[in-house]
Structure formats: C-alpha cells, structure tokens
C-alpha cells in the first residue's frame, strides 16, 4: 500500500462510469482515461527514464496496459494510484531494458571529485538528471510519488535495503552537487 493515495490528486469526472465503459472496451472511455492521466503518467515516466522517447514509449505502453487490465481494477484505492503503479512498473522495465546507464559513475571516474564539486552549483533539475538511472528512479518514486522502500524494492526486483541505500547515496550526491554541504 502506498503512503499517500487516500485522495486522487487527478480526479476524473464520472470516473466510475468511465471505468465501467472502459471495461466493456469502449474506446471513447479509454481515450477519456488517457486524456485525464496522460500528463502525470508522462511526467513520472520522464522523471524516471532519461529520454523523451523512452518516456513517450512508456506512456503508450502504460495506457495499452490500462486498456488491457482495466477489468482488474476493482475501485479499491484511487484510479490514479492504480494507473501510476502501472506507469512506475513500465518505467522501471524500460530502465532495465536500457541496462541502467550509470552516467554518474562515468563522470566521477574521469574527474577529480573535490575540484569538480567546488565548481559545481547545479540546479536541482540538472542534479537529478546527473544521478544514475537507479538512484534517480528511487529518489523520484520515494520522495515525490510516495512509494515505500519495500514497494520500490519489490518493483525493482531488489531488497528494501537496496532502495534505502540508493536513496541515501543519491541524497549525499545531491547535497554535494547542489553545494549544500554543511561546513564541519
């Protein structure tokens, strides 16, 4: 169970009716679901995946899965929570397919760390982009989407501890890159 899904942040007018029609294969209803959730799905996919193309593919795959599986949605929990779980899972599958490009490590291996850090004052957007795929995914899914470490571990096929250590590692780097280290 996710932490923050009591209320649907993206309410859909006549959601019950739309879902019921979508279950019968009504294409207009599926389009209504697409129109209502296209942006948050794309945003999640884009934040987790690195490229626009991957995010677009993930978004399409998410709505194909929504159309295929809408019968399984029983109305327990918010509709966005259900769709978001599909989007998160598809995004992580895409990352696995791309074999987790570890750009952050590549950078750090070729640049003296301290000097670079002193020069760097990135904004959050750029720092997030610079994180490795796994770290960025964990930061986004945990800190923004509200998934627990146990849920993230499960979605990634890893342990809860893996998710926790990835988050800690990511925040250490963000802190450094954003120039927020407290002088000791």
């Amino acid at each position: 169970m996710t932490k923050a899904l009591a209320l649907d942040p993206f309410p859909l007018a006549d959601a019950e009716q739309v879902v019921s029609r979508a279950r019968r294969g009504d294409q207009a209803a599926i389009e209504a679901l697409y129109r209502a959730f296209e942006r948050p799905v794309y945003n999640l996919a884009r934040r987790v995946c690195r490229s626009v193309e991957d995010a677009e593919d993930v978004s399409q795959e998410t709505f194909l899965e929504v159309a295929r599986s809408i019968r399984k949605y029983r109305g327990e929990g918010s509709l966005w929570g259900w769709i978001r779980a599909i989007a998160a899972s598809k995004s992580l599958m895409r990352l696995r397919r791309n074999r987790y490009r570890e750009t952050e490590e590549l950078h750090e291996n070729v640049t003296p760390r301290r000097r670079e850090d002193e020069l760097l004052r990135m904004d959050l957007e750029a720092a997030l982009e610079r994180l490795s795929d796994v770290s960025r995914a964990v930061v986004w899914l945990h800190d923004v989407e509200g998934y627990t470490h146990a849920e993230i571990g499960e979605m990634m096929g890893k342990t809860t501890s893996f998710s926790k250590s990835q988050l800690a590692r990511a925040h250490e780097r963000l802190r450094r890159w954003l120039g927020e280290e407290v002088a000791v």
Partner: protein
C-alpha cells in the same frame, strides 16, 4: 562529534524507527549541524515536488488507439487466439443451428451466407495483414479515414460478440447482417490503404 549519517537523517525525515533511532534523535536534539541537514532534506523533497510537470511533446493518443485497434483486430481475426475462439464458438452455434427451430423469417441459405461473409471478412483481414499498413508511410487524410474505419470495425466487433453471446430469435439474421457490415468496412479499409482515401468516397 560524529554527525548523523545520511541513512539516519533520512530515517528521521521519513519518521521511520530503526534500531538506534532514539540515540539519533538525542544527537539531533543537540546538534545544530544535523538539524540543518535534516531541514535541507525536508526542503529538498518540497523542491522535488515543486519541479514543473513535464509535458509530452506530442499527442500520443492516435498511436495508442492504433495499437489498441490492432490488438483488438488480432483478437478477432481468425488467425489470433481470440479470433479462433470467436470463430469456433460461432461455428458451434452454426453446427447446433439445424437442431434448433429456425425463426420463420430465416432464409434457408442463412447458414451458407453467414459462412461466406465470415470467409470474406477473413480474406480481407489477411489481405490487410499482408499489406502491413503500419509499416508504410501514410498521409494524414488516409490515416484519419483509416482510423475512423478501424473504430467502426472495433465497435462492430463488440456488437458481434454481444450478439453471439445472447442470441435473439432473429439472431442468425442479425449475425449475418453484422458480418456483412464487417465485410463492407474491412473492404473499405483495405481500399483506403491500397488506393488512398481520395478514391474511396468517404
């Protein structure tokens, strides 16, 4: 003084209780540096949540719809598993038909006509599969007309399924009529791809 690790700070930020949590809280209470770090972590979450929502560069609905229609068509085409199931169940209805009283309005050739319509629909499906329009460059107008036809075929397939599942007294005639409509739409769809929309007159 040993400051709190990032793991410990995150545990505190997220209100999780881990072994050693009490000691971490005690340290936090008397360490301004760790308090500042924790405050930054809280702020960072707020900043992450405040990042602008990234919007898709284009409307992907036509692509999603096209993939949905193709998937549905595959299910109803005779070559697909679902299609085989639909065809098999219709064949079963046809097999049982002679044992059931035929509605007075039924033509004696209804069964043969139905089989012919189904066969024609299957041949058109095969022609379309062979042509593989999804791998070809299509102009906007053709794409729109094709999408409209695909929508209508999709709606018709739903109707076919419902008619087949709940046969009415005039069920065989209704079924025949639906299959004829499907042949007409499939024929138009094949034509629209082969000869382009301008020649179809839709």
């Amino acid at each position: 003084m040993t400051h709190l690790s990032m793991d410990q700070l995150l545990e505190l930020r997220d209100g999780l209780t881990e072994p050693g949590g009490a000691a971490a809280r005690d340290h936090l209470a008397q360490c301004p540096q760790c308090q500042a770090e924790l405050e930054r972590l809280h702020q960072r979450v707020a900043q992450l949540k405040a990042l602008p929502t990234l919007t898709p560069p284009r409307d992907s609905w036509p692509a999603v719809r096209s993939r949905l229609v193709k998937a549905r068509r595959r299910r109803y085409a005779w070559g697909g598993v679902g299609g085989l199931a639909l065809a098999a169940s219709i064949a079963l209805v046809l097999l049982l038909r002679p044992a059931l009283p035929m509605p007075p309005s039924s033509s004696p050739n209804a069964q043969a006509e139905l089989e012919a319509a189904m066969l024609e629909s299957r041949l058109l499906e095969q022609a379309l599969t062979q042509y593989a329009p999804e791998r070809r460059v299509t102009d906007g107008y053709t794409a729109r007309v094709a999408a409209e036809l695909e929508d209508r075929i999709s709606a018709l397939d739903q109707e076919l399924q419902m008619t087949q599942m709940a046969p009415a007294p005039e069920g065989d005639r209704a079924l025949l009529e639906l299959w004829r409509q499907r042949v007409g739409l499939m024929d138009a769809l094949v034509n629209v791809h082969l000869t382009r929309a301008s020649n179809v007159g839709l």
